[in-house]
């Protein structure tokens, strides 16, 4: 059976062959250097550890951002209740920026989760093939003449070689993605360093550089809409005099919501 003539698959096949070439003759590699396979398995394990670390970091950041969203929302309500609309707007703008980051993190965490699982599967498959090859090799050696055995062992090695190359390719992809996610995680760190997580009530009404940047990040209309909604909620629940919530009012405005 000839392979597909379509380029879509041949490109990947060519890539795998190139990896195989780099790994020298697979038959030889497998016959004489079990070491090499073990090295690759070690690499897979290391790669897996990298993926897990990256995932944990993103999960921690995600939790932190979620807390931040709640905090900023509360602060916006407090500011509005105190009649400080500019401060409420700033809080909502920050909330919007933080939410944008959060939305970027969630799918990445899910992706890393999937990647982790498929690397575990890949590793198990490769290990099974290596084991199968080892035992098959002995059987072939016992059953066939030297020349014939060489051919059959070579054939069997192709299967292991292909698996090795594919695991190598998958690992490279996983690591590339983890690298991208590190950049994303770094961006959240930057956001935090720039003061986005600082307590707004400490800042007063003044606008600094961070505020301006955040304003550009967040969509103005979304913030406007949310501000209006909050005002309406306050008005609906509105027997409380303005200003009361500005201090020590945690949870006190729960009844005004939804």
């Amino acid at each position: 059976m000839a392979g597909l003539s379509g380029r879509f698959s041949t490109v990947v096949k060519a890539k795998i062959s190139k990896l195989l070439d780099r790994a020298e003759d697979p038959a030889e590699t497998l016959e004489y250097s079990y070491q090499k396979q073990m090295e690759l398995l070690q690499n897979v394990k290391k790669g897996l550890a990298d993926v897990v670390t990256a995932k944990k970091r993103l999960q921690l950041q995600s939790q932190k951002l979620e807390q931040q969203v709640v905090k900023l929302d509360t602060q916006a309500r407090q500011a509005l209740a105190a009649g400080n609309e500019p401060l409420a707007r700033t809080a909502l703008e920050r909330k919007s920026a933080v939410q944008t980051e959060l939305q970027g993190l969630d799918p990445q965490i899910a992706e890393l989760e999937g990647q982790q699982q498929s690397m575990i599967d890949n590793q198990a498959k490769l290990q099974a093939k290596i084991e199968a090859f080892r035992s098959k090799k002995e059987v072939i050696k016992a059953q066939y003449s030297a020349a014939e055995a060489q051919v059959r062992i070579s054939e069997a090695a192709t299967g292991v070689g292909e698996e090795m190359a594919d695991v190598g390719l998958a690992m490279q992809r996983a690591l590339d993605k983890t690298e991208n996610m590190r950049a994303r995680a770094g961006a959240v760190d930057e956001l935090e360093k720039a003061g986005a997580f600082e307590d707004l009530t400490q800042l007063g009404g003044g606008e600094d550089d961070i505020d301006r940047q955040l304003k550009e990040l967040s969509s103005g209309t979304q913030v406007d809409g949310e501000l209006e909604k909050m005002k309406a909620e306050l008005a609906a629940g509105g027997s409380k005099p303005a200003g009361e919530l500005s201090s020590g009012g945690e949870g006190g405005d729960a009844g005004a919501g939804a």
Binding site: G3, R7, T10, V11, A14, A132, G159, G161, R173
Partner: protein, 92 residues
């Protein structure tokens, strides 16, 4: 015919599925060349679904090589665009 979905594993398929796969494969490359992302996503999904549904997974200790290797299931349109436009690595 043995088909590998890169990063996922090998499947054994009846030879007569090859024609269908081949047609989908060519359409997918055409979609990439035309810059048609939705069509690419749809066709690539069909390729993977066909392999998974009619193929039976090869045992982990089966040492046969693949006749065909398709790209990883998480291949993005951007990646496809880089890899599969023009004549690709192999002309034709």
């Amino acid at each position: 015919m043995i088909v590998r979905i890169s990063g996922e594993g090998q499947f054994e398929l009846d030879d007569d599925v090859a024609e269908r796969l081949n047609a989908l494969d060519n359409d997918a490359v055409a979609a990439v060349e035309a810059g048609d992302e939705p069509r690419f996503t749809d066709l690539f999904g069909q390729i993977l679904a066909l392999i998974r549904s009619v193929g039976s997974p090869l045992a982990d200790d089966d040492l046969r090589g693949s006749d065909v290797i398709v790209p990883p299931s998480d291949t993005t349109f951007e990646e496809a665009r880089v890899e599969f436009t023009g004549d690709g690595l192999i002309p034709g």
